[in-house]
Amino acid sequence: MLHDETILLDHGEGGAATARLVEQLFFQHFGSSGVPEDATILPGAERIAITTDSFVVRPVEFPGGDIGKLSVCGTVNDLVVMGAIPQYLTAGFLLEEGLEIALLDRIVASMSKTAQAAGVRIVAGDTKVVGKGDADRIFINTTGIGFVPEQRLLSSASCQPGDVILISGSIGEHGIAVMVARESFGISGDLVSDCQPLHDLAEALLDAVPTVRCMRDPTRGGVATTLLEIATASKVGMELREEYLPIRRPVQSACDLLGLDPLYVACEGRFLAVVPPEAAERALQALRNHPKGAGAQIIGEVVDFPKKLLLKTRAGGKRPLIALEGAQLPRIC
């Protein structure tokens, strides 16, 4: 491991300090081709999926994960839900002067471990250091590349009335775990991020049900926002049943305390899947037979009133779910 104590502006200047950081920290974890190049030429494939995402999270380490793990899971899952098999990642780091090397080491080790678990290689990277106060400790950008098998055609625009909506596990775990870890609300409990790569779970589902219409990971904005996007793209409506929603009690209780709606809280280790009605039971069993999908549920169905998302409540009423304008704020009044 690098023996420098903290990140300095020097580490981003391209000189010896940068080389030290790259060789003694990043290459230690990610490995290196040995030849310093500006780009890596990848062996080709016919259908390449590509995605990119930037990660800023406070705190950078939270129960169930850290920004490094998140930066791999987030991008891997974006590929996975397109039906792609993730292959390569790039990693760009924006580091704030003063960042502890020991912390960076933990984050990068966590990235490496998660990448291995997800079967992806980190093949290109970049590091910049900015002055104290110009960034919040560490920001990571990852770009992911995956190959999509020939016959697969998943699209958020392909859902039809009668289709069934599934979620691969319980809702809201990541968002609540991070918020409670970040703020001084004094709340404690079994609140752990669900952050995990979903490549194997998605393959298990697609093997069992090749006719899956679409999959999406409900990250920012949560399940409600993501389903609204699908409904809009497919020009259909959706109806969810409140009693089918898998929400763990501590998550629901923390939401109740803070006045939040778990349907709008981010997941980082779940996907939504829409499947034709005849495949619904098979899809559910395929998910539940996998350890990452043990909590899978059928949560609703696609219906024929355009672009609306309705929730059938436990009390027997119906209420529309709309896109939130911004982040939910903890409220008391």
């Binding site: 609300f185 089918y244 501590p250 305390l257 909590g295 008391i332």
Partner: protein, 78 residues
Amino acid sequence: MCLAVPGIIRSITDGLAKVDFGGVEREIALDLLPEAKVGEYILAHAGFALQTLDVEEAEELLALFREIEEAIDAEQRS
């Protein structure tokens, strides 16, 4: 008007109660409810206990929570 949440007092130290709100815990000040005891259900608002809850009725609510949970569990296992 005002969000207030029921919980059960697990312990009390120096007028500060550790309260279990259905699986999450938070410290709640007893300044406004000094006679509250361990094992009692209270209604908390903005970090303070405002009222004790009738146990039988609160139990009924908790039983409802349990019912819902069991239904979810059963469905997940089926």
